[in-house]
């Protein structure tokens, strides 16, 4: 286990260095001069030159890369051209909203996906199984942004059951910022009205964001449950008269969950991707929308910083998943 962990940490370090090289490379391939864009089309050459010096674009590539690493080591991701604030500050400001939404989406995906997959496998070829398979198929084939628009059309514009895009009704005042997560802040402030309104605003975006993960999880749980249920030891457990519920949960599901863990790691990547599109549609003031804006306006520091942090979190989640996998399935460590 220790050896495995050590090897994973070494490869992680290499990956992190690689991530820095790639993000730097992204900034390097930009064909347009982003500074000309900030300075405006009428700006005199002199101003652009001054900006070039200021941001260090007049230096050779290796000097730029060295400076980039130096700044990263000091936690400095540069200043966003758009907001004029340090990128790291921006990201920390917008991240809690995304974390809150993504957590709810993941919760929906896991809490609906796993039972659906289990039932689907137990009642194989029943109407429920067909429904769940169609749902999985549609879920992985659906363009997220389109689903968002259709649900918004139905539940907001036509039926009026759910509130408009955004995080909170405009008539309500945000609770004092403690964690940056609205629901938790509302609980801290003891504001029931804000809490309830916040939940109503989250239902649609969280469902949209969660569906992709739900589909993947239901699919993998179904197929691994089917594998496990055909094993001899399940038969033994049944023959010895064990309660069917215990057979399913304690004997079958526990083993079927091992491959599911990997999928949940991938789902997390899907959530990060999905948040860019979902937040754009639902005007959700999170990291995804900030990134989409940064990409569109070619806010270079924000693009590089944001992409890097996304890759960083994704790598750490994958590391956690691999370790959990090794923990759940001891065979992996023994053969290592």
């Amino acid at each position: 286990m220790v050896q495995y962990l050590a090897r994973r940490l070494v490869t992680l370090t290499i990956t992190l260095i690689g991530i820095m090289v790639i993000t730097f490379f992204i900034a390097l391939v930009v064909p347009l001069d982003p500074l000309a864009a900030i300075a405006g089309p009428q700006a005199p050459q002199e101003t652009v030159e001054r900006l070039r010096k200021l941001y260090g674009f007049d230096q050779p590539v290796y000097v730029q890369f060295g400076r980039y690493l130096y700044r990263l080591a000091h936690g400095d991701l540069g200043t966003s051209f758009q907001t004029g604030r340090p990128v790291l500050e921006d990201i920390l400001h917008f991240f809690p909203a995304t974390l809150e939404l993504a957590t709810l989406a993941l919760a929906i995906a896991i809490l609906v996906g796993i039972p659906l997959g289990v039932l689907s496998a137990v009642y194989r070829n029943s109407p429920l199984d067909h429904f769940s398979r169609v749902l999985s198929l549609v879920g992985v084939s659906m363009p997220v942004f389109w689903l968002g628009l259709v649900l918004m059309l139905i539940f907001y514009f036509k039926l009026g059951w759910l509130p408009e895009p955004g995080r909170l009704d405009i008539m309500l005042i945000d609770p004092p910022r403690v964690t940056g997560m609205l629901l938790i802040d509302a609980v801290i402030a003891g504001d029931g009205e804000v809490f309830w309104d916040g939940i109503r605003h989250m239902i649609l975006p969280a469902t949209v964001l969660g569906l992709f993960g739900l589909a993947g999880i239901a699919r993998i749980v179904r197929s691994s449950m089917l594998d496990v249920l055909s094993q001899e030891y399940i038969k033994t457990a049944r023959i010895k008269g064990l309660n069917e519920f215990l057979v399913l949960t304690r004997h079958a599901l526990r083993n079927a969950l091992v491959p599911t863990v990997t999928i949940i790691g991938l789902t997390y990547g899907g959530l990060l991707e999905g948040s860019v599109l979902t937040e754009t549609i639902f005007s959700w003031p999170g990291l995804g929308r900030y990134l989409a804006q940064a990409f569109l306006t070619l806010d270079l520091n924000a693009v590089v910083g944001g992409t890097m942090l996304v890759a960083l979190t994704f790598s750490l989640v994958n590391l956690a998943v691999d370790l959990l996998y090794a923990f759940l399935n001891p065979k992996i460590t023994y053969t290592e």
């Binding site: 490869t11 290499i14 990956t15 690689g18 991530i19 090289v21 790639i22 993000t23 992204i26 900034a27 391939v29 930009v30 064909p31 347009l32 198929l137 549609v138 992985v140 084939s141 659906m142 363009p143 997220v144 942004f145 389109w146 628009l149 259709v150 918004m152 059309l153 514009f157 990547g269 899907g270 990060l272 991707e273 860019v276 599109l277 754009t280 549609i281 990134l291 989409a292 990409f295 569109l296 070619l298 693009v303 992409t307 996304v310 890759a311 994704f314 790598s315 994958n318």
Partner: protein, 304 residues
């Protein structure tokens, strides 16, 4: 003596050829039977065939020029004159969706046929040589896999500048590592087989073994992965188009069309929902087809 040997040799060869031919015919027949049994895959096949036919016959099927703006008829609902209605510039949505099939297919095939060979070459090279080369190439692909695919594609698309060509490059950049991983794994599994060792002892060069004997063994799983990937590629391209980082107006790209119709969602629902529905159907078709191909090429399934 020598002549005799040559004669028996040629005879063997034609016999082998005949047997090989028969085996191939049997393989195709079996595949057809499996295809007929798998109804979902049949649906997927028909959707994709339909898409290809629509793309080829687009000029015949379209009722209007997809770029033609009839401003007096802007935002008109679906009718006999405009099957799917018109958009905010009075362009016929049906014709634009029909031409959009060309855009979507072109993007999907170009991305697949750029990233697949790159990934395969890298994967086979890494697997065959092993050691330091393997380590370097695999760490390189790890770095690319550390980014969620859409994020990496968006970042490259944004940096290269909007446009459908750059979107294709960006998605291909994000896509190759999965092929490299797969090709490496397949290479490792055939590398130590006896027949590869024999070919090696006969003096075949590394290149010859890699191209002639290892790559063909990787192809079936690569094809499965490619067909399963098609849907993801289309979704990524549509997402880029929707964000304004992929295809640019006035190109009839489905993701871009969904985004165009957003502001008219309430009263003119057709402008943005219909192109999105086209994406859903096509991606579903590729997913059904991909699942089916995986089952058909799976040797365990074939035996039954």
């Amino acid at each position: 003596m020598k002549m005799n040997q040559t004669a028996s040799h040629t005879l063997d060869k034609s016999d082998v050829r005949h047997k090989r031919f028969e085996a191939r015919v049997r393989y195709i027949k079996d595949s057809y039977v499996l295809w007929r049994r798998n109804h979902l895959m049949m649906i997927g096949t028909f959707i994709i065939l339909f898409l290809i036919i629509v793309a080829i016959l687009a000029p015949l099927l379209a009722t209007h020029d997809p770029y033609d703006q009839i401003l007096s008829d802007r935002l008109s609902p679906p009718s006999l004159a405009y099957y799917f209605g018109t958009d905010s510039l009075g362009r016929d949505l049906y014709s634009r969706i029909v031409y959009g099939a060309r855009v979507t297919l072109t993007i999907a095939f170009l991305v697949a046929f750029i990233s697949m060979p790159i990934g395969t070459v890298i994967g086979v090279t890494a697997g065959w040589f092993g050691g330091a080369i393997d380590e370097i190439l695999m760490r390189l692909s790890d770095v690319f896999l550390a980014f969620p695919r859409l994020i990496l594609a968006i970042a490259f698309a944004a940096a290269l500048g909007p446009g459908v060509e750059n979107a294709i490059i960006a998605i291909a950049v994000a896509n190759w590592p999965s092929y490299a991983r797969l090709a490496r794994a397949e290479t490792l599994s055939v590398k130590n087989n006896d027949y590869i060792q024999v070919i090696r002892m006969l003096g075949a060069s590394n290149l010859r073994i890699m191209v002639g004997h290892i790559t063909p063994m990787c192809m079936s799983s690569i094809i499965v992965r490619m067909s399963l990937d098609m849907g993801t590629i289309i979704l990524t391209a549509a997402g880029l188009g929707f964000l304004g980082l992929g295809a640019q107006p006035p190109m009839p790209e489905w993701g871009l069309m969904v985004s165009d119709g957003r502001q008219f969602l309430v009263d003119q629902w057709w402008v943005s929902t219909l192109p999105g529905f086209a994406i859903l159907i096509v991606v579903m078709g590729f997913n059904l087809l991909g699942d089916g191909i995986r089952d058909i090429l799976d040797p365990h399934q074939r035996q039954s």
